[in-house]
Symmetry: C2
């Protein structure tokens, strides 16, 4: 035997090696080896495919890289042409076809069938692609290979069904022409349609009697050339259709001759061409674009395998059929078999969706034997694969064959329930169960829903683009959304469609409703990204921006009217409907308890207001990792007080105003500490540039000009009192404008903010600390256990920390301790959100009790990307052109930001072994990032409340993976 | 002997150990050991002082740190009190005084004098402080210690001059009271003044005859109690003054008794108190503040030594005296002795400056023996110390004593000349000579000066605050300076004084002139920092901001009039005087040639315009390390073209405008490449955010409002045509405003700029590259050797480089090569100015030929400091409060930015051994930074043209230090 090692029998291949065998090959090998009936066959490995491409690999990689750059269409077509030209220069590995031929001969021996011969039972095979990762619809497959003018007759004889045989031949030629020979399919379809129409015409006229007879028995029957008429009832119609099919075969062969050359009668030529075609399909543009779009890298899947499988036929009669079987309910996770079965049909008929398949109950009734065999196999496959399985099968004349199995796609709920139940059944360990559930899916179980007890009728339906239910007053543009939200109103932003410039409105709104766009429209993507409920493409809604109204089915909704949207169902309701806050419970609760047992990372929440804190506690947060006090300044009287602090003429004045402000916000601190009683609350000292709290200079300028216009008019009309009054107002505004201009910064993100404010105005940090400390002291006196941790933002040098500790924080704490006669035990820490803080962590660590990585700002600083500007102006292009694989604001950038996190964690802990290290940027809620933080030695992450369960699970997965030696998902 | 090791004879101490002995002690030991006559004595080492403080060191360090925080005055006084209290708790090291006593007894034996005794020759000593670094005027010294009621009589006897003895006693008591006992000096001065006035009165009346006799011989004589009348001419006056001095001694002792206690008669008590006082003076506030202000850290000088030196007297008659001697001319460096000598005087008299000292010629005439001895000693000390020396000496009755020597302070010119000549004399090696010259000083030799051939009379004189001469039209406020400069005018900014808000005007102006302020005023500091000529404090100038004029000596200068300022001399002239561009030459040229032989770092220049390039070549630049093309867009027609590119509606329109713009700037590229023919020119692709080239939105808003006001008026007056015209204008401006707003960025520094523009609009980079490439191609065709290197800014990911290379730069180069039929050999490189570029250098290095660190932006990103905002808003406070030791935009921050430079250089070169690594941020011209870059393995630095010689020398020093194993100045 001339074995190359590139061709492996299902019996011999190591089914665990999916990268070598591809997913389909591995599943066929697995099922064969555990004793399930699989049509005999073999696998040509992905290694063979790699060898096929090897001589042109460098050039093709370069072209693929250029394609990733998303070039203009003309350039793209040029590149694709070049790729095709290179593929034509690729050769099958030496000896491969000899090896394949020997396997085919052995297959003939094993099956007792003959490949391409006119006599005996013909051996037909399917030639199926199969990469390590499923790329649905991207790769090519050829069925019924081995049919030619001779073997079609043998097939007719063997099946005793000439119609079936020629139908198969017709299908094969068309498929071969399209896929293997890459010919235009249209002439083939046209020819088929002409013949089929002719047949239908004749059936309704010449063979009307037989047609009526069939219809009596099968009312749904339509005369088409691809459905075999029952020969017993309608022998002439049957014969006529066979005749027409034979003619069609002739026409198809003529078409192939004209477009390419003589249709190959040698089955080995067919086979070689088909193998080449499957290899080629790995580099077809749609496959390349699919891999780009889905971030599939060579280490995940590199080339496709080819599976050569003996054909079995589900369309050999009513004792045949084809189906899919899920070992558990895909939607609920319940442990009951679920599936579909289509009698007398081939797989492609199921996909085509023309006939309605039967349920498994029906299969059980009709073929109890097959049904039992199926269920038993399902259990076995669950045991071997430790997962809920999705199984493809075919029944040929009452005999069951398995064609593929793979883990089932499930709803989040089903995924959680089945994983938990499998542990109880002893099928999975808890660790394995934890790895089964995608943490992102968990979040979907937590969004608010409309109270099911409420009976309400939606006024419109759209697509459920981003989960959660929300109520608010209708506004029609993003600026209004921001303005109304500033006034404390809840709003729903309603737009025909949205664009990047509208994003500030998303943040301000409770939810978003659009009348146009699909699940991947801008509105849908952004809403999901920032976690706002959204209904998109509610086309019944007609929006009129000018009158600020929308109408839907006769109802008119004005700006300011209340609506409720349900991003889980896509429904839109009038008025403010009660929503139900989610509870962890049942299966999820159990799973998360296991997660808590496994994880090493702590999980805290980012929470600024009591509702968030209560939610966070409920979702299992072990504390608040980031409380931003800025939100406390939103109330008008506080904002006014803060403005007085900022605009103070001297230190004395500043101190007086700051004292007043501190008294205003103390109750907020107290409430938050009380809610989290016994658990740490990390409060960040004031962070943003102070001028952010002042009106914008452009706004003021506009006001000044408006007043000047009024003054002009007042003067014209001789109203001296009015002029005087306006002059005074203008002077006041001008003064404010000047001060605002003086405070304005070119790059506020990198300006006078954070600890820099604490250094220049220690009095601000002193009184903020006092307010927190007094809140804690009062709680202690009430017998509570507040755990206050104070965090300094934007530090870039250890001396900044030393300065604000000595000049503000420590004096404030000690003053309060003295005044209240209590001991506070406050930890003092710093954000690590400048690059320099990370690089000088060993110095800073000695001055603090904890670090908390502000990965948002750290990402900005590492890339020199201003998030607002970047997201609006070019991040989409960067992702589309493949310059960045992920938005680094979603998933932590391991090479840059991650490296800094590792350096700072390692060097910080070396310098101060008691140092606690957390992450409070948004990455703290991203599973891939959490996996990285686990590996980097971080102690806890802090995430938004809804992401706390996600983080608990992701942290557990990281720990389990480490324990089991599984490599992580990010950058490893 | 109870030797503690803390007290060392001049004969035995290792004079190379300045840290242990202090500067003064080391110089006394050195002179003693090389055989020069030094009054006998010993050193109490700095180690003794450290032991003195050791028990309170931690507390004192903490308090000193708090002082560095620049607390408010009340807090500061509190801290100082605490420091004094702690000092009082410090004890002299065990055994120290016994050891000192034994040394004093040995000193008595060696000198044959007696310490504090009534008989024999009295031993008097000076007790002098001396730290490792000179801190002029900061530390304390006590003279004539050992005098008491007994020894004063012995002194009278020994000197045969009772007047002299009691005068010395009076001076000693006062000095002891002030320095050692820390008593208020005022009552002592008052007492002296009363007696002295009484003496003067009596002299003019009672002793008029004798006074007249004296005046005949010494016309300058004034009757004061601190000047001994000639006894031979005026015996009664002499006796009367002695009487009064004795009374004064009594009064002084009474004062001490009242304020402190009995004046100590025991000389060992005096000595112990004096030693304590010197130790204490290390921690006196003015010394602490001096160290803070001068960045003196403990590794440079830690505590003071105490020198106990036998007193010699320069005031023992006209054969005595005191003086200083410089071994070469301090101003020119010429090898001729220079110095001053004051006969019959003590050191403090020289300092007081009451009498005019004689030149060395006069000393040579009067005491040729002494003179020869002095010159010989000078040569010897030059040989031992390898430097020009500054020597203090005293002559006591014809005998020469040396009291101190130290390297002389010299002008930059003298420093360079003497170093070069010392090499020729064989005194220094070239390496040593290179280390002698501060690179910063070199720059001062290069500034433009007013052409000396021009005879012009200044209209005013001020302080020469920042070197260089400049002419320009007078403007009176910084905004005007910016506005006029935008129009291409040269301006001189004239202000009464300046404040931080004015700094933008400094950048726009050629130079700055103020009528108020000194060498450390804001205007002076900023002008020096940014290298603009400045004259400050020209008080004769009276500025009237309202009329925009200034008057000086009857001349009135209006806004727009031309003036010339000379920052080298402080002169101000009317009109535009011709200035002379400096040439390297003479001594400096020779030194820099040696530097070129030694240095490993290449030195290029940052130059955007032909004048800069020519200057750079002349100053020895080996190429242009950074050519910013942005300056080429300043011309109005180019700016218009660029605006059309930015505002283009689609790609096609953008391409057309870009092509036009590229043609406009091609000649500029050609000129620069031609000037640098044969040397590399690194041209940076467009870097700033595009909207920087558009008018500001606020400006547009103001214009719109103005037009609206006009429209209002036009409507009121019924001018319909005008209204229509204005409406159209308003609509146009509104359109532009909207587009400007859409492009506006929150943080432009981190926004859509640099390579990000190249990725989103490859056509811009394509045509810029074409323009450079065509310029090079044309030169090649003309037989020139242009060396073009193209640099991509703001890269943060290797894929950005790949993308612009493949989609813009390489296509442009290959298109031009084809069209011109030449081979261009262009290197392509990247700025490393984002943190991520530094951290992923190993990936980026594989795609480029060179790196160039943009340390300005890298510093911004590492600290998250926006330079504009930081410098204006809080950098001063950060430096004052000691949070940062240096402005990191001046000297590279080693811990943060430097670490990134090291990482990127190392990892970049490992990945691509051919990689060339440069620095083109402003740090490329800073000596301390250059020293760091040398160590980090960088290949070249690029500096502004005037800093090229600085960089050449600094680079040589780094190489020499490395060779000789001397540690560098920055962060090591």
């Amino acid at each position: 035997m001339a074995r190359t090692g590139l061709v492996l029998w299902f019996e011999e291949a190591d089914w665990r090696d999916k990268k070598l065998l591809g997913g389909k090959g591995a599943s066929l090998a697995q099922m064969t080896q555990i004793g399930l009936p699989v049509p005999p066959g073999f696998i040509i490995t992905t290694e063979a495919c790699r060898k096929f491409y090897s001589s042109r690999k460098a050039e093709m990689d370069e072209l693929e890289r250029q394609l990733r750059g998303n070039p203009p269409p003309a350039v793209r077509d040029e590149i694709i042409k070049k790729i095709w030209a290179l593929i034509d220069q690729c050769d099958l590995p030496a000896g491969l076809m000899e090896d394949v031929r020997e396997h085919m001969q052995e297959l003939e021996r094993r099956t007792g069938k003959k490949f391409g011969a006119a006599d005996g039972i013909p051996l037909l095979v399917s030639v199926r692609s199969g990469a390590a990762l499923s790329m649905p619809g991207m790769m090519d497959t050829v069925l019924n290979l081995g049919l030619n003018d001779n073997s079609v007759q043998a097939l007719a004889k063997a099946t005793n069904n000439e119609w079936f045989a020629y139908d198969a031949y017709r299908r094969f030629i068309q498929m071969f022409a399209r896929i293997v020979l890459a010919l235009d399919e249209k002439p083939f379809n046209d020819a088929f349609d002409r013949k089929s129409e002719q047949f239908a015409r004749e059936a309704e006229t010449t063979y009307k009697d037989e047609l009526d007879a069939i219809r009596k028995l099968y009312p749904e029957y339509t005369p088409r050339l691809d459905a075999q008429p029952p020969k017993d009832i309608a022998p002439r119609l049957w014969a006529r259709s066979l005749e027409l099919i034979k003619e069609l075969v002739g026409e198809y062969k003529d078409l192939v001759r004209k477009m390419w050359g003589e249709f190959p009668q040698d089955p080995y030529v067919q086979l070689e061409l088909a193998i080449r075609a499957v290899f080629r399909s790995w580099m077809n543009p749609r496959a390349i674009f699919y891999r780009i779009a889905n971030n599939i890298t060579p280490d995940m899947a590199d080339c496709t395998a080819v599976n050569v499988v003996t054909m079995v036929f589900g369309n050999m009669g009513w004792d045949s059929g084809t189906g899919v079987y899920f070992t558990r309910d895909q939607s609920t996770g319940e442990d009951r078999p679920y599936g579909e079965f289509l009698p007398n049909a081939q797989g492609e008929d199921v996909v085509a969706g023309i006939r309605t398949p039967l349920g498994l109950d029906e299969l059980k009734k009709r073929m109890p034997e097959v049904y039992n065999q199926l269920i038993e196999a399902g259990k076995k496959l669950e045991q071997v694969n430790k997962d809920v399985m999705d199984i493809e099968f075919t029944v040929e004349r009452g005999k069951l064959y398995f064609l593929q199995n793979r883990p089932a796609k499930m709803t989040p709920l089903a995924r959680v329930r089945s994983a938990v139940e499998m542990v109880k059944e002893g099928l999975l360990t808890k660790e394995e169960a934890l790895l089964k559930v995608d943490p992102e899916q968990v979040r979907r179980l937590l969004y608010p829903t409309i109270d099911p007890k409420v009976k309400a009728t939606p006024i419109a339906k759209g697509l459920p683009a981003s989960p959660g239910a929300a109520s608010g007053q209708v506004v029609f543009n993003p600026d209004d959304a921001v303005e109304w939200a500033k006034q404390g109103k809840k709003v729903i932003l309603v737009r025909v469609e949205t664009k990047p410039d509208d994003v500030h409105g998303f943040y301000a709104a409770q939810g978003v409703l659009t009348s146009r766009g699909g699940m991947t429209s801008h509105a849908a993507i952004v809403a999901r990204a920032i976690g706002k409920p959204a209904v998109v493409g509610a086309e019944a809604i007609k929006i009129d921006y000018d009158s600020k109204t929308f109408t839907v089915n006769g109802v008119t909704v004005k700006e300011g009217d209340w609506v409720t949207i349900d991003g889980n169902s896509g429904s839109v309701y009038l008025g403010e409907l009660p929503t139900v806050t989610p509870e962890l419970g049942g299966w999820l609760d159990e799973l998360l308890k296991w997660a808590d047992e496994e994880r090493r990372l702590g999980v805290r929440a980012n929470a600024d207001v009591p509702e968030d804190a209560m939610m966070a506690r409920k979702f299992g947060a072990e504390g608040i990792g980031l409380l931003r006090i800025e939100r406390m300044f939103r109330k008008p009287e506080r904002l006014e007080a803060l403005r007085r602090v900022i605009l103070a003429a001297d230190d004395k004045e500043r101190e007086a105003h700051m004292k007043e402000l501190a008294d205003m916000i103390k109750p907020d601190f107290k409430e938050m500490l009380d809610i989290m009683d016994g658990k740490p609350v990390v409060i960040r000292l004031i962070d943003p540039p102070l001028h952010e709290f002042l009106p914008s200079s452009e706004e003021l300028l506009a006001q000044i000009y408006d007043l000047r216009e009024q003054r002009e008019k007042a003067q014209a009309s001789g109203d001296a009192a009015k002029v005087k009054e306006l002059d005074q107002k203008i002077a006041e505004l001008q003064g404010l404008y000047n001060r605002v201009k003086a405070l304005q910064e070119a790059n506020p993100m990198m300006g006078h903010r954070g600890v820099r404010v604490g250094v220049t105005y220690p009095v601000i940090y002193y009184y903020l600390t006092r307010a927190m400390a007094e809140a804690a002291a009062e709680l202690i006196k009430e017998g509570k256990r507040p755990v206050l941790e104070i965090m300094v933002p934007q530090v870039s040098d250890v001396n900044e920390i030393r300065f604000v500790k000595n000049n503000a924080i420590l004096p404030a704490l000690s003053d309060v301790e003295k005044e209240y006669g209590v001991k506070l035990n406050v930890k003092i820490g710093t954000m690590i959100e400048t690059v320099r803080a990370a690089l000088t962590a060993s110095e800073i660590a000695k001055e603090v009790d904890f670090f908390s990585f502000g990965t948002n700002d750290l990402t900005q600083a590492t890339f020199s990307f201003s998030r607002d500007d970047v997201e609006n102006k070019f991040m989409n292009q960067y992702l589309e052109k493949g310059i960045l694989a992920n938005d680094p604001f979603d998933t932590v950038d391991v090479k840059g930001v991650g490296r800094l996190v590792e350096i700072a964690t390692k060097e910080g802990k070396e310098a101060n072994p008691k140092l606690e290290v957390g992450v409070c940027g948004e990455h703290g809620g991203d599973p891939a990032s959490i996996n990285f933080f686990h590996g980097a030695g971080v102690d806890y992450v802090s995430a938004s409340p809804f992401r706390v369960p996600v983080a608990r699970l992701a942290a557990a997965q990281a720990a389990v993976k480490e324990k089991l030696g599984i490599r992580g998902a990010v950058g490893e």
